[in-house]
């Protein structure tokens, strides 16, 4: 065996229950186990994984129990506003945002986090889709209002602007790296967000209902 500068790869932490569909991998650059989330997904870890996402006009909330080091990230946008209402109580418009925020907080609490220890950081909400100019700002306004109502303070943020962002979040320490991406070369971000925007605006499949 020769000398090796390669970081010893620890065993991959167990996946959080219910999040088996999330893409998890060994990140060679950072030398950490990572999880990459797409629009509409979220991931929570009690084992200090790096959570990665790329944001255009979508917003990602990174939330963590700062005492226990249990944290996670969501990635969402609101459906396009219907003409008659722009009220934050409108269930049709806010359902995905409310769901993404509540789901993230619930999963952290289920893993042993406590509400009074929660630390919130916000990213995204850029203006990158030409035909949907106010989408990013609207997502930002929604998430700020949501957190205010829930009594949660925002500790750090990097929001709005015109460039997509790649966000690396360390779920145990709460440390974040944000890289601004070149707008023109990132058609993948735009394409994914367009598809997601269409899905949240027109979807009829959400909200499974069962009567016993």
């Amino acid at each position: 065996m020769g000398l090796s500068t390669q970081i010893e790869r620890p065993i991959q932490p167990p996946v959080t229950k219910g999040m088996e569909n999330i893409n998890r991998y060994w990140d060679r650059t950072m030398g950490v186990w990572a999880a990459k989330i797409l629009p509409g997904e979220l991931y929570v870890s009690a084992h200090g994984e790096m959570i990665v996402t790329v944001l255009g006009s979508c917003v990602a909330a990174c939330i963590r129990d700062r005492v226990r080091g249990i944290g996670g990230m969501n990635h969402f946008m609101l459906p396009q506003a219907n003409s008659t209402s722009n009220h934050w109580a409108d269930a049709l418009e806010t359902r995905y945002g409310n769901w993404a925020m509540e789901f993230l907080i619930n999963e952290i609490l289920k893993l042993g986090g406590r509400k009074e220890n929660l630390e919130v950081k916000l990213f995204g909400g850029g203006q990158i889709l030409e035909n949907m100019t106010d989408v990013g700002a609207r997502n930002v306004e929604f998430v700020r209002e949501y957190l205010k109502r829930e009594g949660l303070r925002v500790e750090a943020e990097d929001l709005l602007g015109v460039r997509p962002r790649k966000v690396l979040y360390f779920s145990d320490t709460g440390s974040v790296k944000v890289r601004r991406l070149n707008q023109v070369s990132n058609t993948t971000v735009v394409d994914r967000e367009r598809a997601y925007a269409k899905q949240v605006t027109t979807s009829d499949t959400d909200g499974s209902i069962e009567l016993f």
Binding site: A89, D90, L92, R95, L109, E150, D206, G207, I209, L211
Partner: protein, 120 residues
């Protein structure tokens, strides 16, 4: 006019549910956890209960079980509104006496149609 008890620890969810129900002509009573829910249920005679599952102090499943022990709420429809789509929690809810299980995110129309269905 039917009166609905909406129990959720999230202020945003309560606001959204109340708005949806009031727009459809229902009377709404709110509570932020299971204990508050039980108190409200005893103070107001509600025709239907909508409850979140994961809440501090008393969760929605425990509250449902408690409600079923009260003579006034033995047969009242209780719908769970939750982010939990897993079968385990759902069976727990069913065993506790819940009438139905709605997974978030839901559309307002889906919620209202289900309410109308169970109110008969």
């Amino acid at each position: 006019m039917s009166k609905i008890l909406a129990v959720d620890d999230s202020a945003s969810m309560r606001q959204m549910i109340s708005f949806t129900l009031k727009s459809a002509g229902f009377d709404v009573v709110e509570a932020a956890d299971g204990i508050e829910g039980l108190n409200q249920a005893q103070q107001h005679k509600c025709d239907l209960v909508l409850s979140d599952v994961n809440m501090p102090n008393m969760d929605g499943i425990t509250m449902t079980r408690e409600l079923r022990g009260l003579p006034d709420y033995k047969y009242t429809p209780i719908l769970m509104l939750t982010t939990e789509s897993g079968g385990d929690k759902k069976s727990e809810g069913k065993n506790a006496g819940a009438t139905g299980w709605i997974v978030k995110p839901f559309k307002p129309d889906q919620l209202l149609n289900t309410i109308k269905k169970v109110l008969g």
